[in-house]
Structure formats: C-alpha cells, structure tokens
C-alpha cells in the first residue's frame, strides 16, 4: 500500500508530446480516475507508472521510492488491461497464480491466496477453465483476480470495461467499487467514460492534450469546473454553452443571451463579473438547471421563454431542445409540463449553477 507521486512527468514520441508535464499526488488507498478524450495522454501516463513506457522527463515515486528506472516486475503493481490479457494457454488458476509462481511463493500460500481472491470475485467454479471458455464478464473477473492475488502496492486499470456490453459494464462498475472497498489499495483507473469516472473515483483527474485540466472529487468537478473543457466533459447530457455578454441592466448586471433574452444576474454574483461588462463571454448551464417553469425556491431562479424545436423523452425527464440566437440548447423538463414542438415554453434557470467562461482563455471566471 502506498501513495504514488508524479512530478512534472513528460513523454515525447519523436516530435509529438503525448504527456506535457503532469503533477499528481495520489494518496494511499485512494481511487483516482484519469479521464479524458482519446489521445489526451491518460493511457501513456498509466503505462509510465506501470513501467511499460519510458519516461522522457520527470519523476515517478511509488511509496518513497523513485521508480523511473525500475523494471515493471519490481514495481510491485498489478495492471488490468482493456482486452484482459489472459494467458490463453493457461487455466484460470494458472493465470491467477502466474505472478506468484514466478516469485517462488510457497505452494500452499499460492493456493490460499488464489482461493481467497476467487471467493471475493465469485469465480471459484471457473478455476480449471481456460480463458476461451469464459464470457466477457468472467474474463474481466479473472483479470482482476490475477491482480488481487499479487497483493500489490497499487492497481492500474486501463479502460477495463470498454470491451463489455452496456448492461454488464454497469454491473462490473459496481463490482469494482465493491472490490475496492474490500481490498483496500491505491487504484489508478483510466477511462474515457465520464460516468465511470464520476461513479468510481475518490478523485477525478481530467486530462486533455497531455496536461491536467483539473483534479477534484466528482462533486467538485460537477459543481465547480475550472475550464470550459471540464465543464463540457463532466456531466451528461453535456453542459450548454451559449455566447453572451454581461450588460448593465437597471441597477444590477444581466447576462444577455440574445436580443430577446437577458437574464438578471443575482447581486451576490454581480461583483464577480463586474470587470467583464460588455466583453463577449460564454454562458454555461447544465440541462438539469434549466427546467420547466417552477415555483422559485431561491432568489437566483429566473424565468424566460423559448420556442421548442425538438423533444426527446427519456422516461423520467424529457429533453427539450430550443434555439437561442442560433445556438442549440438542451433543457431538462418534467414530461407533463412540456409544450409541443413549435410552441413557446417557459423555463426556469437556476443562476446559482451557471458558469461564465472567458473564450480567450477557456477558463471559468
């Protein structure tokens, strides 16, 4: 069990920089998820921690040991691969015990650890089968079992659920969380799926173009994104971004979205944006904070209306698409209160949950 420390980590392939200076402090027993679009450097970072990629620059510490030049076998970590990487010529039991046999662990100890891990994962009956005879979910379990028996300092997961069908993915996600609660270990988990990141992580690391955009708990990422990228990446459906200007409106400030719509800024927020009056900005609001007209529960809620262009019923809610000054905007409304397509509909926006983004820096103001 140990903490992992990345200091100014870089990776360069020929001319391209895959990872451009990452600093991250992963706590003992923490579940950290690296998330980002493909090509953002998350897998490269994980592979550098594993020792499968050479480090171009920077330092990695596991515990208090610098492991830059330690071969993978001596790093005391276990990794679960996207395609599971089960050894096809070995039974499940042999797969799980491979690492222990290499380390010359006594036979009865191996047996004990394998059956313990098999118990946790519920794969006791599969021990004599070969990987070919297993379903996707079972292979996934075996791959995790192989990691658990090693009892390593840290677990690395490289998109472990992307090869499973949607239903199984949700099941295994819960399973992984349960296992982490039982087998307390430091986990670094790579995924491109923000839902996986939100549900599993103690802390999320959002990466883009080889750098870290933001680190924080899932709730922090959702409520207080620091950049436009994080705001758009976390949360589903994605946050709406509407070009706007902050204008003087009466005694206070307002956010002007179009000629027809100017939303009054609550006084508590006005101070923050006073310096940006009349600059082109981007107004960010999540669909769930833009609902059908409701009884206001706080002073920050304001109403406006738009023409409905498309409806997407989801069952519990209906996604309402409207157009504001050429930008498509999604709102989330109760099914019974939705107006038909082409009709005007009144919405309530919770200004408490809106964000203003500076388009020059793409940072949230």
């Amino acid at each position: 069990m140990a903490q992992i420390l990345l200091k100014d980590l870089r990776k360069t392939y020929d001319q391209t920089e895959a990872v451009r200076g990452i600093n991250l402090d992963i706590e003992h027993n923490e579940f950290v998820v690296l998330v980002g679009p493909s090509g953002c450097g998350k897998t490269t970072t994980l592979r550098m921690i594993a020792g499968l990629e050479e480090i171009t620059d920077g330092v990695i510490l596991i515990g208090d040991r610098v492991i830059n030049n330690v071969p993978p076998k001596d790093r005391d970590i276990a990794m679960v691969f996207q395609n599971y990487a089960l050894y096809p010529h070995m039974t499940v039991e042999e797969n799980m015990s491979f690492g222990l046999r290499l380390r010359k662990v006594p036979r009865d100890e191996i047996g004990r650890r394998v059956s313990h891990a098999a118990g946790i994962l519920n794969i006791g009956e599969l021990l004599q089968r070969r990987p070919k005879q297993l379903s996707g979910g079972q292979r996934q379990r075996v791959a995790m079992g192989r990691a658990i028996v090693r009892n390593p300092q840290a677990f690395l997961f490289d998109e472990p659920l992307s090869n499973l069908d949607a239903k199984l993915r949700v099941q295994m996600r819960t399973e992984i969380k349960k296992i982490h609660q039982r087998v307390q270990t430091t986990v670094v988990y790579v995924t491109h799926d923000q839902v996986e990141a939100m549900t599993l992580a103690d802390r999320i690391v959002v990466m883009n173009h080889g750098i870290i955009e933001q680190v924080g708990t899932p709730q922090e990422m959702y409520e207080a994104p620091l950049t436009r990228f994080v705001a758009g990446f976390i949360g589903s459906p994605a946050m709406n971004f509407i070009p706007c200007r902050v204008v003087n409106a009466g005694s206070g400030l307002g956010v002007r979205l179009s000629d027809d719509i100017t939303l009054a800024l609550p006084d508590v927020q006005a101070d923050r944006y006073r310096g940006h009056v009349d600059r082109p900005l981007i107004f960010g609001i999540r669909p769930e904070h833009m609902t059908e007209q409701r009884q206001h529960t706080n002073a920050q809620q304001i109403d406006f209306s738009c023409t409905v262009s498309v409806l997407e019923p989801m069952g519990v809610d209906t996604m309402v698409f409207v157009e504001i000054d050429g930008t498509e905007v999604t709102a989330r409304a109760a099914p019974r209160s939705v107006s038909p397509v082409g009709a005007e509909m009144a919405f309530t926006i919770d200004m408490n949950n809106m964000h203003l983004i500076d388009p020059e820096t793409d940072r949230v103001i």
Binding site: A50, G51, L52, P71, P72, K73, R75, I77, A78, M79, F81, Q82, N83, Y84, A85, L86, Y87, P88, H89, F98, G99, L102, R103, P131, K132, R139, R146, R150
Partner: protein, 282 residues
Amino acid sequence: MNAMVGETYVRRLVIFYIPLFMFVFVMLFPFAWMLITSIKPDAELYNPRISPFIVREPTLEHWESLFGTTLFIRWAINTLWVAIASTAVSLFAGVLAGYALSRLVFRGSTLFGIMIFVTYLVPPTLLFIPLTGVVTWMGLQDTTWSLIFTYPTFLVPFCTWLLMGYFQTIPKELEECARIDGATRLQAMSRIVIPLAVPGILSAGIFAFTLSWNEFLYALVFIHSPENKTIPVGVTSELIKGDVFFWGALMAGALFGSVPVAVVYSFFVEHYVSGMTGAVKG
C-alpha cells in the same frame, strides 16, 4: 458435410467433388508412378507394347539393389541428420530474430529485417560458388557439416520471416502483463510468447525440414564421397551411370525419400494449418 438449402447433388459434384478429385489425382499420380516403376521387372519396364500402368510380375529386385548395392541407408541417415541439425539451428536463430524484429524497436530494426529478407532472395545457384570457398576455408569440404552450416543461409531468413509474422499476431499486452506480473523479458518470452507460438514454430520447422531434406545443389557441390551423400544427390549420382538410368531403383529411392516428409507433415497438419492462418484468440 451438410448440404446447404437449395444445393443440389449435381451442383456439389461440379463445384466440389470433381475439382477435388482432379487435384488429388494430380498430386498422387507421381507417387503411384514411382511405386509401379519400382516393382516392375526391367523386361516389362522397357516393353512399349504393354500398358505402363499394369504390373504383371511384381518384383522387389530394384528395392533389393537399392538397399543392397548402393549406400542408400547411409544416405537416408545423412539426410535425416543434416535436415534435423540444420532445422534446429535455423529454428533457434529464427525464433530469436523473429521475436526481436517483431517486438523490439531499435535503431535500424526495419532495415535489418529487410536485409534478412534480401539474403533469402539471393538464389543458391549464385551463392554456391562463394560458399564453396567458405566451406573449404573452414575445412569442411566433403562432410555433412558443410551442409549443416550452409543450409541455414536460406533457412534462417525463411524461419525469421515466418515467425516474425506469427509473433505479431500474439497480443503485446500478454507480454506486458507478464512483465508486470513479475517476469523478465526472457521469462515473458519463454513462458508466454513461445508456448503460444508453437503452431508457428512447428510450421517453420516443417518447412525448414522439407527444404533441407530436398536440397540438391549444395549437397551436390560440397560432397564427393558416396558415404557422405544425401538421398537426392546419392540417388541421382549413383543410379544414373553415364546415360544409363536405373529407373526401377531410382523410383524406389525417390519413393522412399519422400515418405519421411509426408509422415512429418501428416503428424503436424493441424498445428501447421493454424500456424499458417495465425492468430491467438483471447
């Protein structure tokens, strides 16, 4: 074989059985011819008025002369020894080179791979002259060692390229996982990659064995003493005297010489097919 819906017997006959029969006929005819010729008395063999496909009085005289008056058994042993030894040497080198070229990225690795392939393209008819010099310089002329050392010049490139392709079908993650699990590169290779590459290694081995079993030119050039010859050279040099062909014994020798290869093939045919079609499935 289950007939598919709408597939008539005639259709199957035309697209499947007739072509198959023709293929089998063409493949097996030389063997049948060798067998018939080897058990025919000379009187029948040279009589143009009787059907060449019928043997009236089968005889073993050609077989007796092959085993009795020539060193055929010795040649067979020589051929087997040379084929096994050169195949072993070539497989060993080919596995290591093929692995390195498919997995390790080093400066000039692509160029190195291409150069190995180019050496395979140089025909033995050009290569045997300089190789004669090398063999003489090493003092190996007229020994089976000269063949064991020269056959790898075409077997190693062949094995390397075949195995390189096969190693590439084995997912890299398996090895990476093994290395994280605690294996060194060499252990990952010997315990994960090589066991999975067995079909490919077998195919390469069978091919190499066949190529060296049938090799003619180097064996003809480097070996002079009858007791050191291999079957292809021995049979043709000792059973053709001037313009006299001892057809019966020649055919007996040819038939006997092709049997071991056929046996080797049939033993490994399943592995061989999967070796050619590649792929390890998770």
